[in-house]
Amino acid sequence: MKASTHTEVYRPFEGQLLARPMRPAVLAWSGIRLGFRKKLPAFLLFTPPTVNALAYAVMVYLRYSMAEQVGSEGGFQAIQAQSALKELLGDVARNVAQFAEMSAFFALLAMTWFGAGMIADDRRIGANLLYFSRPVTRITYIAGKWLGVAFFGVVTLLAPAVLILLTATLASPDWSFLREEGAVIPQTFTYAAAWIAVVSTLVLGLSSLVQRRSVALVLSFGSVMVLHGLAEGAAEIFELPQLRALSLFNDFSALAAGLFGHRDLNPEHDVLLLGLVAWTLVPALLLWRQVRKMEVVG
């Protein structure tokens, strides 16, 4: 019945198109939706950072609640116990910095897993033909895909960090965390944002080079891990510490040291930060060039 009456159902489009449609958000949403279609990888990739975040949140909570309890007893012994607790659990800024550096690895895993196919799959199936025959610009396309990958970084790195910061804020007596260690909030956001930005660009840049998600996955994760190994090895063999800048982990370690100040600055700090710029620029240029070819073959 439906088949025979389909012309009656149809009506020419009379609605109005949005003047400023959020095309990148629509593109990002489809990427996120595709990512969550498979439940097991999502479970496996999101569980470790979640557990990690909960552990740190509990540690931060204990630090404040126990310190408050001990402190309320008064006396010299209480002060000693408070310092011991602080020594044992560390200050919140250090906890957050440790957490951020540790979770960055989980974020890398999740972002490469979910992001590797974002452009590679489009190239393989030819979806770019559908996108670019619509009012989608190169920038819109890149922004949409980039937001899609970045989302997985936000879920695995930034959101858990926010949970810890929130716990510290609410658990600290008289908002002491905000007053005394509040600087750690922008520092954490900066660190997480930088990690998410660099890794998203890297994953998309490499994804745009190939037509298979699996190859893009190996390229993305492999490039980070192999270059880390090479950088460490080469720096030792040639006694050139500057070569450590080839490692993304070393570069971010330098950034963390500069931001959080929880350990001494590496003497090669500036070179390492330059390495970070290279990790961003090279994939960004690749991405731009490849998407340009996908948009209009000149």
């Binding site: 489009f13 609605g15 109005q16 198109l17 449609p21 799959d121 199936i125 033909l129 209009v296």
Partner: protein, 326 residues
Amino acid sequence: MSAEPEHAPSAEAAFLEKDEVRPIIEARGLGRWYGEVVGLSDLTVTIPPGITGLVGPNGAGKSTFMKCVVGELRPQRGGLRVLGQDPFANRALYSEMGFCPQQDALYDQLTAHQFVEHLLRIGGARRGDARVRAEEALQRVHLEEAMHRRCGTFSKGMRQRVRIAQAIAHSPRFIVLDEPLTGLDPVARHQMRTLFTELADQGASLLISSHVLHELQGLTERIVLVHRGRLLAQGSVREIRDLLSQHPRRIRIRADRVRPLALALSTEADVRSARWLDEESVLFETTDPTAFLARLEQLVPATSPGLQSLELDDEDLEAVFDYLVA
């Protein structure tokens, strides 16, 4: 007495009238190479509104031309206007066009409805509008029962229908369909042909490519033939055939006693060849079919061949194409 007409032409009528005059596609000397391989070579063609068939063998340059039309491939030579505008980086124009590529282009993990809705939203439709229009488009391609199934579970024909649905969902003025009937069973093929005719009746223009020539017969009389990146011929099948007056036309005769008739017909100068197909059939090639048929009319009573059938093969598009590319 007022000189004014009883009904002044409406703005829409004026627009339509203007639109009829203005070609949908104007290509002048288009050239495009892939390294040493020629995609398009000095292709000059003007396509008016309505349904136009773009015909050519594999590698003729049909897809290259279509990608140029939708602005995804920049020709290295020549000029191109689509709906009167330059198609490259022309976002406003893309809103008025629908494109069904030959490539698969579907996300297996999304349902057909989610996929079409997603593309509509990228085109700028509101969420509610996109949902309704995706449903309508999928109904038009007869996927109402399967629209909430994942594309990964679809057959080749169903995937083709989804691609067609996304091309028509936003009611474009001009629809470019690259081999849209490939992979469809005869029933689906008929349904899609009906759909294309409906779309044209509603005012849309369609450029449909195919290398299976008979697919386009009955759907449109207007054919653009391309071969090796060049325009070979343009017009109706008959017009194209008339352009080839120097080329012999084929006439197939089937009769109980065909031999004496064939011998009598072969003696005339206009008959280029006669080929026996079997004991009862013979295929003639003649440069003057009118004279040939007049002679046949005279010979039939005299030879009493027991004539069973008479077919003019050249009315078939396939034959025209064979002549042209041979």
